[in-house]
């Protein structure tokens, strides 16, 4: 069966067919070679054997020769990067390159059209046969690329213009051999200025310092009968009413002398995701088929392929493209750094200029640092105000995030950073504004935490400081203020889930690492070590204000189950999780999971266009197609889509087959159950049925052998009735189709009835899904060197249902390592002294290693451990898991700062807290 997914995109030049397919080898997640597993339990990662044996599964592993139907010849692309945002870029001069290093072609943007909607460029080829120095000359006709949605600057800097940001591509060099590419890279590395020229006079780069709109403003005022908030106010008048309520807040706070005000003043530097595989890809323009073929490892394949179709849809595009084929590989790490990454565009840009040869773009680590998306640096100022009863009254804060020079989800990240300032606390008054600003730095994106790390660090260190100054117990302060069901978030949205902060605080208070912290400190002091304990909590959101998910579940002719999901497994274990969660419905684990199922959305038959304003009354409308992949969308969202779709297949087809085999046409699905992979009926005289038996009947009788479901969550799941061969099914889905007939036949939509979903008001809740987490950190600090050693970490986590315990533990452990790494080690300078200068690598950029993290998993006095305490599942969870990929990480950094406060009496509020900062503060 073809595993290719297909989609159509309309451009000015006509319809572009977009396809995304799995790996070119057989390494897509399959359990067929894996250790045997029991239903519902993962014996190992479904993709584990391919990874542990070094198979070709990452984009870095593929060359043109590995791709069926591609030419074996391969060119290499190398971009030169802007060195200034204060001078006009004039051009490149490669005349000093040695002969072996000379590119076959240079592509500059000086002949791209100057239309504001279009980044421009043209090819100018040298003639290697003539022995001339390659140069960008007047070249042939002007060509143009459409600027993909959200891209506000040129893909490449046009000569005569000031670069928008440092590291922006200024030229593309193309080489026809690996030897010349590598020789050129080596010759030019750390010597960029020798090959680029800039005007001497100073100029201004457009937009520098401006806000990437929109700015986020959360003003909340609850007093007596007045209830004003982002969620409660009229969306049309919220912004105009906000200033008035700001004044009311200021008046309320000024009028009560008993209130205690704690300043907020902290900052954190940019962080590189430092995923292990530098971005790499292949691009081949097949002129005969007018097809652009791309090999990539992306977190957002759907967005990437759409952008590429748009990009080449320009009237004067250098090549005519009727189709885009994206082969999406396993990403070698992601952490948000491969979500809407500019890499895919830069890769595709090279394809038309390589004379029909495939082009490989492989970043080295220096270039990955130089161009890869970062976590936003941030500065937060303001104050938190409490009464003498420890009850929080208000928070006022301004957040400014460094979005870098190329807009990339920055305003959304700034928005969630603002929301995270409320953390898990009741705050009757709030006045928060948050903005991301354009700078010359490398672009920032949606790196792990999506604003949570910035906001939570600010509020949790401020609360700790408040407690310390007032002599309040840090846990008592939090207990007096934590949110519970029925409360409202800082945006005014309702708390719909069971958060259980009280239980978490109780567990923390009783834990010996906290309970005995004074005696532990005393004993360490006796040993000459400065020791401190800190605590922080977080209410990290998972999902966005509205998420669409799509999944397909197939019963193969041999009885095996295959799952397709729109999600990408970045290593978090999505594929493994989705393989085991079907067992509760279909009796076995899936034997194969296909990720990045880009075709699925188009096959649903749904649309997001509500042209007649019918909303849920339109049986084909849904508010959201599919959300881009993030690790925290698996446990709740994707699992729901897979299980509910599996239920549709079970109720709508397998039960029909079972009734035929058992000759019991009225048999209810409530009277059957799975055991050891066999379907058993409560009637004892009916012979158990195997999946191969059921599959045989399904395939011979023409019953559906697969189902395709779409779900939408916004405070609750949309639900509807759907027709099926076994009667009407009520599902928490808003779209359902069945696959019948031949294996490659498209699915047929089961038109929904009686659909219901949340209204537009729920979108104003901002977030309704949370994974509460609390961290206790104990550390020692060396006053002579400033060195901090993390001794113990205790994490208390509300994760809901645990689908695969090992994956949850792994996410927690990875989150802690990443958190202490960015809290203490990871430092990037601004401007050309930082990654944009091309000189940053792991020699200087320190990330946590084995010796930096506690490796035991159970706390023992005197030992070094990280202990994870997961709250037991409760009925209020409804059997659902929570996305915890970011949750455990977020509160670690403030807990470290709080522990340092305990150890030294000093507040460290600037991340990373490096030894030099510690020594400087201690010497003050």
């Amino acid at each position: 069966m073809s595993l290719t997914r297909r989609r159509l995109i309309q451009t000015a030049m006509g319809i572009v067919v977009c396809r995304v397919s799995g790996l070119p080898t057989s390494a897509n997640a399959t359990s067929r070679d894996s250790a045997p597993s029991r239903p519902g339990i993962a014996a190992e990662r479904i993709d584990g054997r391919a990874k542990v044996t070094g198979q070709k599964i990452y984009a870095r592993d593929f060359h043109a020769r590995d791709m069926a139907g591609w030419p074996r010849s391969q060119w290499y692309g190398l971009y030169l990067h802007a060195l200034s945002t204060e001078h006009v870029f004039l051009g490149v001069d490669l005349s000093s390159l040695s002969q072996v290093s000379r590119p076959r072609r240079i592509v500059l943007a000086d002949q791209f059209t100057s239309s504001p909607a279009l980044p421009a460029g043209s090819a100018a080829s040298a003639s290697p046969e003539s022995g001339e120095q390659p140069r960008a000359d007047a070249g042939p006709a002007r060509v143009e690329f459409n600027r993909p949605l959200d891209l506000e600057c040129d893909l490449m800097v046009r000569p005569g213009h000031v670069p928008n940001y440092l590291g922006q591509p200024v030229a593309l060099l193309l080489f026809d051999s690996a030897a010349s590419f590598r020789a050129a890279r080596a010759e030019m590395q750390f010597n960029d200025a020798a090959f680029q020229s800039y005007a001497t006079e100073t100029s201004q780069s457009a937009g520098m310092g401006e806000v990437y709109p929109p700015e986020t403003i959360y003003v909340k005022y609850q007093s007596g009968e007045i209830n004003f908030s982002y969620a409660a106010a009229d969306a049309e008048t919220y912004l105009s009413e906000s200033p008035g309520f700001r004044r009311k807040i200021a008046q309320a706070l000024a009028g009560d002398p008993s209130l205690v005000s704690q300043p907020i003043a902290c900052d954190m530097g940019a962080v590189d995701p430092m995923f292990m595989e530098p971005e790499t890809g292949l691009a081949w323009y097949d002129g005969h088929e007018q097809t652009l073929n791309i090999v990539l490892g992306s977190q957002s394949p759907d967005g990437d392929v759409s952008d590429l179709a748009v990009m080449f849809g320009a009237t004067d595009a250098p090549v005519k493209i009727g189709a885009v084929n994206l082969t999406n590989c396993f990403p070698g790490g992601g952490f948000g750094g491969r979500d809407s990454s500019p890499f895919s565009l830069m890769l595709a840009l090279a394809a038309p200029f390589s004379d029909g040869n495939p082009v490989r773009l492989e970043l080295d680590r220096y270039t990955q640092f130089r161009t890869g998306l970062k976590r936003h640096a941030a500065k937060v100022t303001g104050r938190v105000v409490a009464g003498p009863d420890m009850k929080l009254r208000a928070i006022e804060a301004e957040l400014e995030l460094d979005g870098g020079g190329r807009r990339n989800l920055s305003s959304s990240v700034a928005g969630l950073a603002a929301f995270s300032m409320g953390s898990g606390y009741r705050l009757p008054m709030a006045d928060i504004s948050s903005r991301a600003v354009q700078s010359a730095n490398v672009s920032a994106g949606s790196m792990r935490g999506f604003g949570g790390p910035q906001g939570v660090f600010a509020i949790e260190t401020a609360l700790d400081e408040l407690a310390a100054r007032q002599g309040w117990d840090p846990i008592a302060l939090r207990r007096a203020n934590v949110l519970g069901t029925g409360d409202q978030t800082i945006a005014g949205g309702p708390v719909l889930q069971s958060l259980r902060f009280d239980e978490m605080l109780d567990a923390a208070e009783a834990h010996p690492l906290w309970k005995e912290r004074d005696s532990l400190k005393a004993s360490n002091t006796k040993s000459g070590r400065s020791y401190g304990t800190g605590l922080a909590l977080s209410m990290q959101a998972y999902g966005s204000s509205g998420n669409g998910v799509v999944a397909a579940v197939h019963l193969e002719p041999d009885g095996g189950v295959r799952v397709e999901t729109s999600g990408v497994d970045m290593g978090n274990g999505s594929a493994t999780t989705l393989a085991v969660v079907v067992a509760s419905v279909l009796g076995v684990n899936a034997s194969r999971v296909v990720t990045a199922g880009y075709r699925l959305w188009d096959q649903t038959g749904l649309t997001v266009d509500d042209e007649h304003g019918l909303g849920w009354q339109d049986p084909k409308w849904t508010p959201k197609s599919v959300s881009s992949s993030s690790a925290c969308l698996t446990a709740f969202h994707q699992v729901h889509a897979v299980q509910e779709t599996a239920r549709a297949l079970f109720e709508g087809s397998l039960m029909a087959a079972a009734r035929l085999l058992w000759q019991r046409p009225e048999l209810s699905s409530e009277t059957v159950a799975w055991k050891d992979g066999l379907l058993l009926a409560a009637e004892g005289n009916l012979k158990p049925l195997s999946l191969p038996q059921l599959a045989a009947v399904i395939h011979t009788e023409g019953l559906p052998h697969g189902a395709l479901g779409h779900g939408f969550y916004q405070g609750s799941w949309a639900e509807a009735d759907f027709p099926s061969p076994a009667g009407t099914l009520h599902l928490r889905l808003d779209g359902l189709s069945f696959y019948s007939g031949t294996a490659d036949a498209p699915p047929v939509m089961a038109l929904r009835q009686n659909a219901s979903g949340t209204g537009a008001a729920a979108k104003r809740y901002v977030r309704t899904l949370f994974a509460p987490s609390l961290n206790i950190v104990a550390l020692t600090v060396d006053h002579a060197t400033g060195q901090v050693d993390i001794q113990n970490v205790v994490t208390i986590l509300n994760a809901g249902r645990i689908h695969v315990p090992e994956l949850v533990l792994g996410q927690s452990q990875g989150g802690i390592a990443m958190a202490l790494s960015y809290a203490l080690l990871e430092e990037l300078a601004d401007g050309m002294d930082g990654p944009a200068g091309g000189g940053v690598n792991l020699t200087g950029y320190q990330v946590a290693r084995m010796q930096d993290v506690p490796l035991a998993t159970s706390y023992q006095p005197g030992g070094r451990a990280q202990e994870l305490i997961i709250l037991p599942e409760v009925p209020e969870d409804g059997g659902t898991g929570r996305g915890i990929a970011e949750a455990v990480m977020t509160a670690v950094a403030p807990a470290i700062s709080n522990a340092l406060r305990d150890a030294t009496g000093r507040r460290f509020s600037s991340l990373p807290i490096t030894p030099s900062k510690i020594l400087q503060e201690l010497a003050r």
């Binding site: 070679d33 250790a35 014996a43 190992e44 990662r45 993709d47 584990g48 054997r49 391919a50 990874k51 542990v52 044996t53 070094g54 198979q55 070709k56 599964i57 990452y58 870095r60 593929f62 020769r65 690996a178 590598r182 995701p273 995923f275 292990m276 595989e277 530098p278 396993f330 990403p331 070698g332 790490g333 952490f335 080295d364 680590r365 220096y366 970045m570 290593g571 978090n572 090992e806 994956l807 533990l809 792994g810 927690s812 452990q813 990875g814 802690i816 390592a817 990443m818 690598n841 792991l842 020699t843 990330v847 946590a848 290693r849 084995m850 010796q851 993290v853 490796l855 998993t857 990280q866």
Partner: protein, 172 residues
């Protein structure tokens, strides 16, 4: 003059003029062996670790393929991740990594496998260390894993190492 060495038992000869080329590029470009992963390219992260015996029969040492020029390989025997296990039969440490869910994205895994193999081979020959965890950190502490937080790698390796030590104790 040629540089002669083996990769996973297969002999190769390259002209001395290619001596400055890096082993990782030779593995990827010439042999199509892409299991050895490039990450930092400067020998710091150890993702590209391979096993090299300076000459046939000598003990293997871990080496960063991204920083090893072909000129240094004359007479050497190189083993990559593709050479440590044949078919479905994996090394015990590979099985342990699977059972412990030691890795996530998996890009660093071949490097961890290679370093672990060399560590375990050495463990079978030398007296058992006083502090096994310290010995593991000493052997693999330079390896970077960005996803897993190391805990499960160490637990898996600890299990296999303990078994190696026990087997040696029982069959001295």
């Amino acid at each position: 003059m040629n540089i002669t060495f083996t990769v996973n038992g297969t002999p190769w000869q390259v002209p001395a003029s290619r001596g400055d080329e890096l082993l990782i590029d030779f593995l990827h470009d010439d042999l199509g062996l892409t299991g050895t992963k490039l990450c930092c390219g400067v020998g710091v992260c150890r993702a590209c670790t391979v096993a090299i015996a300076a000459s046939q029969g000598e003990a293997e040492e871990p080496a960063a393929a991204c920083s090893t020029p072909l000129s240094g390989l004359d007479g050497a025997a190189v083993t990559t991740i593709e050479g440590v296990s044949a078919g479905p039969q994996l090394l015990p440490v590979q099985e342990a990594f699977l059972q412990h869910f030691a890795f996530q994205c998996g890009y660093c895994t071949p490097g961890f496998v290679m370093a672990s193999k060399i560590f375990l081979d050495g463990l079978a020959l030398a007296p058992p260390p006083d502090d096994l965890d310290a010995a593991i950190v000493s052997a693999l502490g330079d390896h970077i894993c960005r996803c897993s937080g190391y805990v499960r790698y160490v637990a898996a390796l600890r299990d296999v190492a303990t078994a190696v030590i026990a087997a040696k104790t029982n069959n001295p």
